[in-house]
């Protein structure tokens, strides 16, 4: 019994200063409308993939912008590109291009 709780428990602090923000910077540069997101959740509430999986566009891109990219590759693979999210976004975020740019960025890595 020499392991303390914090070793098994995951620390979920976002270490913003340590995180790599280059991926987010790439995506924002190629699809600046992402800057306008207000995290309203319209996209992820309407998303057919979110309804049946753990994927959420809203959360995924927010985490990416905080440099939390560990699950990004896995997350972005869920999208079906149906385009519902674009139709409901009140801020005109070009969600499908955000997804495309994330995929491009990941492929370049």
């Amino acid at each position: 019994m020499n392991s303390f709780g914090f070793e098994i428990q995951k620390d979920n602090t976002i270490e913003y200063d340590k995180n790599d923000l280059s991926l987010a910077a790439f995506v924002l540069r190629h699809e600046p409308s992402l800057y306008n997101c207000i995290q309203c959740g319209s996209c992820s509430g309407t998303c057919p993939a979110s309804a049946i999986s753990s994927y959420q566009f809203r959360k995924m891109q927010l985490l990416m912008r905080r440099g939390e990219t560990k699950h990004l590759r896995e997350d972005v693979a869920h999208c079906m590109l149906c385009g519902k999210c674009i139709l409901v976004c009140p801020r005109g975020v070009n969600t499908r291009n955000v997804i495309r740019q994330i995929r491009i960025a990941l492929n370049m890595n």
Binding site: C79, M80, N97
Partner: protein, 609 residues
């Protein structure tokens, strides 16, 4: 042996051209799919070959399609192509009449006036001279027009014309020189040796005193030969590659070998190389309104040929198909773009679909698949449910609670292979139901279910289904005096060919007016799922502009048949009622009970503040 050194540039050019063409064509033929190749073999010795040759004559030589767009433009193309063709053919006959053999080297008929300088006092020769002069004049008139067109394209019914690459420009300049040089060479020959007819001997007598000499005589033949040789060498590397390739494409098409396979194959190559960059399709592209001026099909094809594709040129397109219906060569621009977009490197993981339950606890006759978009236009969904109920149909709404996208948005984005998990899951769902008919409200779903799912269930768009119910007398409807205009959605109209059913349904319910740009000429609403690059403001701009062009002054209601069109047009905030056909029918069924919701806007009164 009839020979002179000056024929070498022409002969070498011709050999180079033939070797390159043969190499390329063999490569492309080898990359045909088995189906495509089988089609060629099966249909080679049939009437299809003849009809192909007929089409080549009508299109590649006479340029009938271009003439339909604009007479002058058609004449220009015809005089160059058909004229040149005649020069060669009649040249051969003339050559045969002198030398009585068909096995002359190919340069003989081309430089015939050099090799047959003497007058034979044969009336036939005079006739040949006259005919050849006439044909040359015909070709020269085309050259003159082509030159004039570079500077005054409006007279040719074109607002935009393609910007050309260096190789194209060189080939073009050389092409402009070929026929004037032939005229010069033949005229000087005539000045020195006599002969020729009204054109060459006429010009010859003008040149007789100052220009015609032994030196200018041979120099002019050299120049003519060099210009031909240069043109041949540049041809495979310029847009003029379309001249021979289009012939092959027409044959392949007639043999039924051009079916889209989902990837870049020999057919894609033949299609891409058949584009002459004529630019006739440019004016149909709505993205020009937004200033996106280098993504249109000819630019895509050219960049593909030159291996210089950029993300923008590939992706920034609505795949509305407007250019496809305008293309005078009949290139399947949408299929080519889709093939070019294919990218199997993109990782997609739809494993979560495994958990979706596809069992059915009812046994419906008809399945209704609303579609992703239709969940955002519940007016359409509810109207369809009311229609099923009124017609007493045993139906089931498949995607009530959760839905899997049909897969077409991914296919259009280049992820066709990756969409298979979705496709299969949906198929499983449809087939488990035991239903005979699948009805959908979304033209995007309709297109893919019908053309790519290989279902053994009949697939109908709701406009077709309503049309059928009306024919069968299952809906009690009455005509109203409402004035409406119909908008053909790209995916339903141009891309699926459904034009008449929607019109029949509307005409039975309201006064239908047609916008000038209807059917295959219809505008895209701008919301196309195939374009991920446009900003929301740009899409709105396209929608506003399209609305302005579609809706006549005295009409307040636009009827469409696509949830995406409906949403896109509605987001313009314009005071126009945007209504789906299903809603029009449902309101009619309810004897106008829901009328207020659909007709939100009455006529705006004039001149009141």
């Amino acid at each position: 042996m009839k020979f002179n050194l000056f024929v070498l540039p022409f002969t070498i050019g011709l050999l180079v051209l033939f070797s390159i063409l043969t190499a390329k064509y063999i490569r492309w033929f080898l990359s045909l799919s088995t189906d495509q190749r089988d089609a060629v073999i099966k249909n080679f010795f049939t009437l299809k070959t003849l009809s192909g040759l007929r089409e080549i004559f009508l299109e590649s030589l006479l340029h009938r399609n271009i003439s339909r767009k604009n007479r002058l433009l058609g004449y220009m193309h015809m005089s160059l192509a058909f004229g040149w063709f005649l020069l060669i053919i009649v040249g051969h006959f003339e050559s045969y009449s002198y030398f009585k053999t068909a096995l002359e080297p190919p340069y003989i008929p081309i430089f015939l006036r050099y090799f047959q300088q003497d007058s034979l006092a044969d009336p036939l020769q005079v006739i040949y001279w006259f005919v050849m002069d006439l044909i040359l004049l015909f070709v020269l008139s085309g050259v003159a027009l082509a030159w004039y067109k570079r500077h005054n394209r409006k007279h040719f019914g074109m607002k935009k014309t393609t910007r050309h690459l260096p190789a194209d420009r060189i080939a073009l300049s050389v092409l402009w020189f070929i026929f004037p040089l032939r005229l010069l060479a033949e005229s000087i020959t005539s000045a020195i040796y006599g002969g020729g007819s009204f054109l060459t001997s006429g010009l010859g007598s003008l040149l007789e005193n100052n220009i015609a000499s032994d030196l200018s005589f041979i120099a002019s033949w050299w120049a003519y030969s060099i210009s031909l040789g240069l043109f041949f060498v540049f041809l495979p590397f310029s847009r003029y590659m379309h001249i021979p390739t289009e012939l092959v494409l027409i044959m392949l098409r007639n043999w039924g070998a051009t079916k889209y396979t989902g990837k870049i194959d020999g057919i894609t190559q033949f299609e891409v190389h058949s584009c002459s960059s004529c630019g006739i399709c440019l004016d149909s592209c709505q993205l020009l309104e937004l200033g996106h001026a280098n993504i249109q099909s000819p630019y895509l094809f050219r960049n593909f040929r030159g291996n210089k594709l950029s993300d923008t040129v590939v992706q920034n397109c609505l795949m509305c198909g407007r250019c496809e219906t305008t293309c005078v060569v009949g290139i399947k621009t949408n299929s080519v773009r889709r093939a070019i977009r294919q990218n199997s490197d993109v990782e997609v993981n739809h494993d979560y679909l495994r958990h979706v339950d596809t069992s059915f606890n009812s046994s419906p006759d008809v399945l209704y698949f609303a579609g992703c978009m239709t969940h955002l236009t519940p007016g359409i969904k509810k109207s369809m449910q009311a229609i099923f109920k009124a017609a007493k149909i045993n139906y089931a709404l498949v995607d009530e609670d959760q839905n899997i996208c049909c897969g077409r948005p991914m296919m259009l984005s280049g992820l066709a292979e990756q969409s298979l998990a979705m496709v299969n899951k949906n198929k499983e769902l449809f087939e488990n139901s035991g239903a005979q008919t699948l009805v959908t409200s979304c033209p995007i779903c309709y297109k893919v279910f019908r053309d790519e799912y290989n279902l053994n269930i009949e697939v109908l768009h709701h406009t077709q289904y309503i049309d059928r119910l009306m024919k069968e007398g299952k809906l009690a409807l009455a005509k109203s005096e409402e004035q409406v205009v119909y908008h053909d959605p790209c995916e339903l109209g141009r891309n699926s060919g459904v034009y008449d059913e929607p019109r029949r349904v509307i005409a039975a319910l309201a006064n239908l007016s047609e916008s000038p740009a209807n059917r295959e000429k219809a505008w895209c609403c701008g919301g196309s799922i195939a374009n991920a690059m446009l900003t929301s403001l740009e899409k709105k701009e396209l929608a506003i502009s399209a609305l302005g062009k579609i809706v006549p002054k005295n009409t307040m209601t636009l009827v469409t048949a696509c949830p995406l069109c409906k949403k896109t047009f509605a987001s313009t905030g314009k005071h126009i009622n945007i209504v789906d056909i299903a809603e029009l029918v449902a309101v009619n069924l309810s004897a106008g009970k829901d009328k207020r919701r659909i007709w939100m806007f009455e006529k705006i009164e004039s001149a009141s503040i």
